[in-house]
Amino acid sequence: MNFEIILFSVLSAVMVGSAIMVITRKSPVMSVLYLVLNFFALAGIYLTLHAQFIAVIQIIVYAGAIMVLFLFVIMLLNLSDEGALLEKVSIRKMAAVGLGFGVLLEFIYILGFSGEMYPDKNVERAIEIGTVEGIGKELFSTFLFPFEITSVILIAAIVGAVILAKRKLD
């Protein structure tokens, strides 16, 4: 059980650290690479939750497909660096960061110190629902209609992306 705690601590430290790097890097390419690192750490955390299918999908779809799309767009646009962040610190940004951490403290207070009781994990059940078999059975029976709706969303997104990115609108 000790190994699980070490794994979770390391992965969450990587996740928070890379999230900070994503929002502070000057170059968008570095941000994308740190975001990929963040997604890999998140996939590891999904594994500690026994959600194998979601972990694999996280790597294939997010780190593999969506982030490559981001990289392609950044390289297509040939963006220059934004300039050092510290030169552009304004009172508005300081207020935004302060309010953000205020909200975080509220979250932590509500989640951790409100005396709320949290359920214990039933490991066998968690493993059962996290496998490809468990997900597939649910997805193609109970959640068949939402699953079909996602195909419509994807078609709409493909058509929309092609039309928006066309050089000239007729």
Binding site: V22, F39, Y62, P119, I129, A156
Partner: protein
Amino acid sequence: MIDLQYYLFLSATVFVLGVIGVVTRRNAIIVFMSIELMLNSVNLTLVAFSSFLGDSTGQMLVFLVMTVAAAEAAVGLAIIIALFRNKQTVNIDEINILKW
């Protein structure tokens, strides 16, 4: 075993970092990446609850969120490309045609 609230702490932290990124950064692509961070932290909450409550609905919702995130990234990046073609910038402070 790690308790549920540690997953929720982690998720809240990443979500707040995403919010700070959206509010403070001016590069549209980095704003997009911060939105992805927020979507992922919510996914983590859903998977954590799904796993702890023994209910697979949360993981189904994560599946749908990922689909919507992929669609959103495709359409959003197409919009950014179209904007860049017209204004030669992705700085969201300079894209203010809709501002009165």
